[in-house]
Symmetry: none
Subunit: 414 residues, 2 copies
Amino acid sequence: MGTSRTGAAGAASRIVVSRTGRLASAPRTGLKAPSSALPNPSLKAVPVRKGGALPEDLPLNQILLGDCIASLAKLPAESVDVVFADPPYNLQLEQALTRPDHSLVDAVDDDWDKFASFSDYDSFTRAWLSGVRRVMKKNATLWVIGSYHNIFRVGATLQDLDFWLLNDIVWRKANPMPNFRGRRFTNAHETMIWASKSADSKSYTFHYDAMKSANEDVQMRSDWFIPLCTGDERLKGEDGRKVHPTQKPEALLARVLLSSSNPGDVVLDPFFGTGTTGAVAKKLGRNFIGLERDPAYAKAARARIDGVEPLSDISIAAAPEKRTETRVPFLSLLEGGHVKAGETLTDERRRFQATIRADGTLTLGPVIGSIHKIGALSQGLPACNGWTFWHVLRDGKLVCIDDFRAKVRAEIGA
Amino acid sequence: MGTSRTGAAGAASRIVVSRTGRLASAPRTGLKAPSSALPNPSLKAVPVRKGGALPEDLPLNQILLGDCIASLAKLPAESVDVVFADPPYNLQLEQALTRPDHSLVDAVDDDWDKFASFSDYDSFTRAWLSGVRRVMKKNATLWVIGSYHNIFRVGATLQDLDFWLLNDIVWRKANPMPNFRGRRFTNAHETMIWASKSADSKSYTFHYDAMKSANEDVQMRSDWFIPLCTGDERLKGEDGRKVHPTQKPEALLARVLLSSSNPGDVVLDPFFGTGTTGAVAKKLGRNFIGLERDPAYAKAARARIDGVEPLSDISIAAAPEKRTETRVPFLSLLEGGHVKAGETLTDERRRFQATIRADGTLTLGPVIGSIHKIGALSQGLPACNGWTFWHVLRDGKLVCIDDFRAKVRAEIGA
DNA sequence: CATCGAATTGAATCCAGCC
DNA sequence: GGGCTGGATTCAATTCGAT
């Protein structure tokens, strides 16, 4: 490590984080580069890429410290196969938020997420996307993740820059943060846009069959159900606090890379953070290039990636989707036509009645509530399973609404 | 039907589709309007709206034929409660693109023309969204549905026009069209953006409690699983072919209107198509205004809506929201004899005590304050809901003072 | 050591009414 | 309109602590 080479001039990115996690100065002459075009020797399982040698000056499996736009400008054109980008979301936090128990939510309020205006954010987006597009090979694809705060601006900018949108993928969170004030729907997903470099990029990588086999032999859909990054996977500092506020789950990156890259490919992440992309790339035998501005993040990423052992059998990497019994809202029974608003529900012994409302609640006299609450109230009990308690009359016979739930579950394949 | 009235001048929308489905010419002087400010008499179950009369010149429960931007310009400002919009998606080059003036864009692979296409689509989007925003009441909200072809441009334009995004909702399709060529993920969802008129619109309608009750007593999430519109619900022409290519399922509209509107509200749909919004609005006791430029769609919509039977009042009556229940002073509990001055209050786990004073305040040692303030002080928290925190001993058991508040509310009929 | 319950936490544009 | 205050508001998963 440490060979300097003459390269693009520029002020940024003069520092790389070596694989030991130390910060090292590099000469002003250009990017730090590995001593050969081969992958970093610490990444034992990275196969040599088919289809041509890698450019000599590609800083493979390294983290380039500095502004990502400046770093991008110094990478060779048309040199990477896939890009995964998790840019700042431009959250607009009005004020502190507390949970119902009055504890404070540790929100993202870092400086890197602050922009003065939409216009500023758009300029920033256009700049880094342009830089990314230049280093993408002709058939490379790009993933960008975001929330409703920023993803619309990112998507529009992608289209303006002649990227070609292939899919928008919804990451449905298994365990999202609730809406504490009850003023909106629970914000339970984020959106990823998958785009090719241009409409002409017809030979982009997509492992259709692998995705299909990993999904019980049906086509992988555009909505993915994956838990948040928590537990041991979440990087924590010596103080026990999370190192990065928005670390993404490895399962998400694994599905991204397995579907749209090949072993030996070069994966670029311009907002590397604590290196989830690099860790998963190494695990799956891909090369990575990480760009990161914050030395603390970069150092944590380096240490993390050095601890990753490449998988010997990549096929096991596609973690099966979390399977829990799907929650069926009673409202779905109305939507599916199994029961009707205004209809009367009764119990097996026909002692109690309640009326179905159009919004999926029940009424019992003046009281409105869920099937469970009204079931409990009817019987004077503290709790009740409304699914098994309530019945409707069909052809003169009582049918339990749980039968309809089973039908709905069957319909949705859950 | 057929009363003309002097209104805003303008060239478009001189035709309305009467509820019999006939196309009728209307004078150049303005919009067709019903003969009174009350809802269309064919909509028997539409309750009269609380909170003020409707503007006299609002064409309730009608379909205005013509260009939606022109029609919007003639509706009175700040007159509608909710908007649902399903704008044209046709952005991809393979499909025709309509300019704001409805001339056809001859889309080709030419870069310049492609830019022009996005730009045209943006102008169109900006035009109709501006028109919609003008007719929205201060606390009205807007829903727009789209796919990755157009939703990013719509979302960015919404933000540019100072709409305030509340949620993006993912409609997960139960039975999406498979991806035949196996080159992408199955496009199994569409996206809806829910936005208020501005960041100041804090009192928008959201039936949080109803949604939660309808969803197993947990918050409704931003991902909704709803089947496509098929079967009998799908409008078919005499040739057996579908009348409209993208007819939305009524279940989707039902959840939209149930969550974000009240009975008697005015629901505007500027791209009415075959009238799903109108059909669901009528069924749920809401008023609608539909704008549609294709006479065939409008005619099919009119016939469809006329066949809709509104649901009974009991199944759609507005549910009381807990947060808007009448405020009861703690002093009323003393006055009603539910608690006594000098009595000791304690929390559920009997860790804290406070004494009730005759004026409805509590004392904790030397400190005097409200049930909330003293509750917060006891626990060392910044805030506390005294109603649910404090209990009194009755027959050896702890009773929450919130139970007494419920009794008081029942007594005063609130 | 196992088990049960309490505490913690996560990309969040998160209050309303009265004076 | 600004300021004050009453009081409404959380789901799933993991970790920690007590028994």
